[in-house]
């Protein structure tokens, strides 16, 4: 397999992992709104459903994007595709 094909394969698996995490926190957990509300796990004292909609999921998305960017940069470096003159 060519270098480029391998790079793309790794890029694609990173995409799938990223989208899986994204799916859980943007769609998955909201199937269980009522269960989250009844949960005794209350971050900072808020009901879990309320917390996830106004802070939890949002914060996770921010972290997820930076994590994704880091991972992708590692993949690019591994295959020599990173730009040296950057930033």
């Amino acid at each position: 397999m060519s270098k480029q094909a391998k790079h793309w394969e790794k890029t694609r698996s990173l995409l799938f992992i990223t989208l899986a995490i994204w799916f859980v926190f943007s769609i998955g957990i909201f199937f269980f709104g009522a269960e989250m509300e009844a949960s005794s796990f209350r971050p900072l004292g808020y009901p879990l459903s309320y917390y996830m909609t106004c802070q939890g999921s949002l914060g996770i998305f921010v972290i997820l994007i930076f994590w994704f960017a880091n991972q992708q940069e590692k993949i690019d470096e591994e295959f020599g595709y990173s730009e040296k003159e950057d930033d």
Binding site: T18, G33, L44, C54, L64, E73, Y81, D86, D87
Partner: protein, 606 residues
């Protein structure tokens, strides 16, 4: 001229700017304590900030294509994040969102999840690849990737429908704020707002819009957060409400049941006396009050719409590299998060200020005449944003007898909570900044697509630089005026139009964009079918439901993008597979897009 030197000095320049703005706020506060009138403070705030944006817009004027279309591709990561945040957060986010959460609670917070989660899709599926492509506009990518004028024109059509729906709402918002702050009629204020928007973008295109958007972000974030922290602290809830409001949220739930929320209902005859556009609280504050599908379908539409709206995507064309485009998405979302995580806190503080009888500001349970004599009640009642009526005739204001407009939650809460008027002036300037920055991005996205893709690429490919830039500017003014004219008619509310814009963009552009990068087999015929059938079916569904149609799959007029994008995906895949695979050159181009380093695919062939 602003050149490389300006880019190197950005932190310093904007540091001084922020300091200057804070000094201006303090000066205004001193002026207020010395007796300056509320009206004059409002005028000062709006004209001072708009004046600054105009100066930045003038200083960023340019005669170069690269600067006009993509800010010379040298906007640093973090600053591009700030500019995107301002580009993104519109009058709807700033003025309307906290109000929506105040009235509808959990069900409405799907917008918070949708308007942030979409950035994960932007970062992972699209932004870095489109940056590598090196296009000027989103239809530029579609037109080159798929090939052919038909694909290009289809993309321009979808872009124009979605962005134009969006921009009328933003011009409407600038008009509303300008008319309140400057005390002029709405019909004139709309054009004052338009003039401010055009000053920022006309001379310098994307470069001018970039640097004004950074300035606008700083104003709008200060204007949103300062009152939230202040009110929270004043109420004794702690200086940092995001981590400390759990007791207040629980307290609201107690008060809601004490005041009979959900058990005491208004009769239809009583409700008919309430002015149009005002509402009472009918949904509990923190309870789960909607079906999972309703919540999720709205979130999905907003996420896919985020990834398809061209004015957001084109911000990532301005970064120096693919890597910085990717990181820049993270910074954008971080800056957006600062405001979005505060909106539910503002709704909580606002509600408690009004409801809690233990607070001096609480009005529920007081006598009706007492409430009617409060200064701020009279002001906002006059502005048609507040209303009380003694339905049950007991002389006391009950929870179900108090009505408010959505905008009032952001605009009036500082006054209700007893903050000085200078804060209200600041909030007006912030709302203006939010609406202007988004309108700028949208008008530019439409005008650029028309001037670059329609005029230069199709009508007159031999046009010289000077002529292209003149056409771009003329179109900018025309689009702006068309938007303002429709905004002046006030057909649809701000929030409704914004949500529609997301659905339009999702219907027509989401799959053609994503599959253009991730599916080599996708071809021009498929893309054209996807864009046009997606847009047409989505629009048809909207019209059907608006006219009393029953709908299916629980899809409403706010989530019609689900139908549109489903049709778009199916038709795009089916037509692509039935027709010839893209030629070898196109396949190579897609391969090239997937490699983050090296020259852009389009190179210098603009």
């Amino acid at each position: 001229m602003i050149k490389g030197k300006f880019i190197d000095n950005l932190p310093k320049v904007y540091g001084i700017y922020t300091g200057g703005f804070l000094v201006f706020i303090i000066l205004m506060a001193i002026a207020e304590s010395m007796g300056m009138s509320a009206k004059l403070i409002g005028i000062f705030f709006v004209s001072f900030t708009v004046g600054i944006y105009a100066i930045i817009g003038y200083l960023s004027r340019t005669l170069q294509l690269d600067a006009y279309y993509v800010a010379g591709r040298q906007v640093p990561t973090v600053f591009n994040g700030m500019a995107t945040a301002a580009d993104w957060m519109s009058g709807a986010s700033f003025v309307a969102m906290a109000g929506g959460i105040y009235f509808k609670g959990y069900g409405y917070m799907a917008l918070l999840v949708g308007w942030t989660g979409g950035y994960v899709l932007v970062a992972s599926l699209l932004a870095p690849y489109l940056r590598k492509f090196g296009c000027y506009t989103v239809p530029d990518f579609i037109g080159t990737r798929y090939g052919g004028n038909l694909a290009r024109v289809s993309a321009v059509i979808v872009l124009t429908v979605a962005s134009f729906t969006y921009v009328t709402a933003q011009i409407n918002a600038t008009g509303t704020i300008a008319s309140v702050a400057l005390d002029i009629p709405f019909g004139i204020a709309v054009y004052v707002g338009l003039a401010s928007i055009l000053i920022c973008s006309m001379l310098g295109g994307m470069r001018a819009v970039t640097w004004t958007q950074v300035a606008q972000y700083i104003v709008l974030i200060i204007a949103y957060l300062l009152p939230v922290f202040w009110i929270s602290n004043k109420m004794g809830a702690g200086i940092f409400p995001h981590f400390m409001l759990a007791d207040e949220v629980a307290r609201i739930a107690d008060l809601e049941s004490q005041f009979g929320l959900g058990t005491v209902k208004n009769t239809a005859a009583d409700l008919a006396t309430v002015p149009k556009g005002l509402a009472g609280i009918t949904k509990a504050h923190s309870e789960v009050n909607t079906t999972p599908w309703k919540f999720i379908s709205l979130a999905v539409c907003m996420m896919a719409g985020t990834a398809s709206l061209p004015h957001v995507m084109m911000r990532y064309f301005t970064t120096p590299s693919v890597k910085s485009a990717r990181r820049s998405v993270g910074w954008s979302l971080f800056f957006i998060f600062l405001l979005y995580s505060s909106a539910p806190m503002l709704a909580t503080l606002s509600k408690l200020s009004l409801m809690d009888p233990n607070l001096a500001t609480g009005i529920i349970g007081k006598s009706i005449t007492e409430v009617q004599n409060i200064d701020w009640y009279q002001n906002w009642n006059q502005a048609n944003l507040m209303f009380v009526s003694d339905f049950n005739g007991n002389g006391t204001l009950e929870l179900n007898e108090f009505f408010m407009g959505g905008k009032a939650v952001v605009l009036a809460t500082p006054e209700i909570a007893g903050l000085p008027y200078v804060i209200s002036g600041l909030v007006a300037a912030g709302g203006m900044a939010a609406a202007m920055s988004t309108a700028d991005g949208l008008v530019l996205a439409i005008a650029n697509a028309l001037s670059h893709d329609l005029y230069y690429k199709i009508i007159d490919p031999k046009a010289e630089t000077a002529k292209r830039l003149i056409v771009a500017r003329v179109l900018l003014v025309i689009i702006g005026f068309a938007g303002a004219t429709i905004a002046a008619l006030e057909i649809q509310g701000i929030l409704g139009s914004v949500i529609w814009a997301f659905d339009f963009a999702m219907s027509g552009l989401f799959f053609p964009l994503v599959l253009g990068v991730w599916w080599k087999r996708a071809n021009a015929q498929g893309a054209v079918a996807g864009m046009l059938l997606g847009l047409i079916s989505g629009t048809a569904y909207l019209i059907w439901v608006r006219n009393g149609g029953a709908g299916f799959w629980g899809v409403t007029q706010l989530t019609f993008g689900i139908v549109g994008s489903a049709v778009s995906l199916v038709s795009m895949v089916a037509v692509s597979l039935m027709t010839k695979a893209p030629d070898a050159a196109t396949q190579r181009m897609v391969d090239e897009v997937r490699i983050p380093s090296g020259k852009t695919v389009l190179g210098k062939q603009h």
